[in-house]
């Protein structure tokens, strides 16, 4: 219940306030979004598995976003930024997909 309210509140705040992202951080926003989605799907699957833990969720979400942004930043400094962001998106995409598949098995038993 609190989770749903929080999510709706966050989306509403983002849509109404339209916070401007500093120019230097803009390249990391898409990566941060993918990392956040990965954390959300992981949390959802853990919830269905019955082992959800709010602390683990918040910590994994924060760490995922920061590490993904850090990897891309590091790649930018070394000249392989776009390749590394592709790598991050592939790895996180695979995780999102498998977690979504696990959630589907839980919900539909298929």
């Amino acid at each position: 219940m609190i989770a749903a309210i929080g999510l709706i509140l966050g989306v509403a705040a983002g849509l109404y306030l339209e916070p401007t992202v500093p120019l230097g951080l803009q390249p990391y926003l898409p990566i941060a979004v993918v990392a956040a989605l990965d954390a959300v799907f992981g949390g959802l699957r853990a919830l269905l598995d019955g082992i959800f833990n709010d602390k683990v969720f918040v910590v994994s979400f924060t760490a995922n976003v920061l590490v993904a942004a850090l990897i891309v930043y590091l790649g930018d400094q070394l000249g392989v930024g776009s390749q590394l962001s592709t790598g991050v998106v592939v790895v996180l995409g695979i995780r999102i997909f498998s977690n979504a598949a696990a959630i589907r098995r839980h919900l539909f038993r298929a």
Binding site: A3, G6, A12, G14, D49, D54
Partner: protein, 282 residues
């Protein structure tokens, strides 16, 4: 492979399993009667929602901006091109009026009239002025199968491979143009490019260039000259050269025309000028 297998099999954060194993020992902390973990979760999800919404807003703001910049640039190009065209037309009109004024001014004196006639003759010979008169048309075209692509599309020599059989080369065009001059032509143009004494017919990557402008086949050589120009050309070396080209599949034709119009060369520039010596009494 180990890395990929690991990635595929351990998709769930291992922290959840570890926390689940520890859980029975810990008692949930409470803040003002509410589960502290739930507050933490709510705050975390607010951040998640904020992040998603911000990203979506960001993408949507940027897309119309890029489209607007694009259309602005396209409009700018169109506007500038139109302005350039207008200026070129204006330049042509001014050149004509300058030429007329110069002729009118020169005709005031007897010596000036002679100079004006000399000027007209030189302008025709050097390619500085457009020329109209009787002449001939020499048409050259690549062999139908020369460098033909599998899609059967028209051959663009600027992008085609280096297959030169049956292709009109710069040297062929040079020979033909030289023979046209030798046959007595007074002015020559290739595909609308007027040739002057400084014009170059060259090739770059299989494309024939006249004055550094790439041409596309068919190549049309226009020449103004005496009525027997065609006969002189066909009977001389030019005719036999075209016959040789014909053996390579290069189609050519020479036709006489009562009226051929050649444009002025765009590359005529003032290279040297001197003040004429003033005659006594003038």
């Amino acid at each position: 492979m180990l890395l990929l297998t690991n990635l595929m099999e351990h998709t769930l954060d291992e922290g959840y399993a570890e926390a689940a194993a520890r859980r029975p020992a810990a008692r949930p902390a409470r803040l003002l009667g509410v589960d502290l973990g739930a507050v933490l979760l709510g705050a975390g999800l607010i951040v998640v929602g904020l992040l998603l919404a911000t990203a979506a807003v960001q993408v949507r703001q940027r897309a119309p901006g890029a489209a607007r910049a694009n259309s602005q640039l396209t409009g700018e190009i169109t506007r500038r091109t139109a302005a350039t065209d207008r200026l070129v037309r204006e330049l042509d009109a001014l050149r004509v009026s300058v030429a007329r004024s110069r002729r009118d001014g020169l005709r005031l004196t007897a010596s000036g009239t002679a100079v004006a006639e000399e000027l007209t003759r030189l302008e025709a010979v050097t390619g500085a002025a457009a020329v109209v008169g009787p002449g001939l048309v020499v048409r050259l075209n690549d062999a139908p199968d020369a460098g033909a692509r599998s899609d059967g599309g028209a051959v663009d020599p600027r992008g085609a491979d280096q297959k030169t059989d049956g292709r009109v080369s710069d040297r062929d065009l040079q020979t033909v143009v030289n023979e046209v001059w030798a046959a007595g032509a007074e002015a020559v143009a290739v595909n609308g490019q007027r040739l002057t004494s400084l014009s170059a017919i060259r090739s770059a990557g299989g494309a024939v260039l006249v004055d550094f402008r790439p041409l596309r086949p068919p190549y049309v050589v226009l020449a103004v000259g005496a009525p027997d120009l065609r006969r002189t050309l066909a009977d001389g070396f030019g005719g036999s050269y075209l016959q040789v080209l014909h053996n390579y599949g290069i189609a050519s034709s020479i036709t006489t025309r009562a009226r051929v119009a050649l444009p002025a060369s765009g590359g005529v520039t003032l290279r040297s000028a001197a003040v004429p010596r003033q005659r006594a009494g003038s």
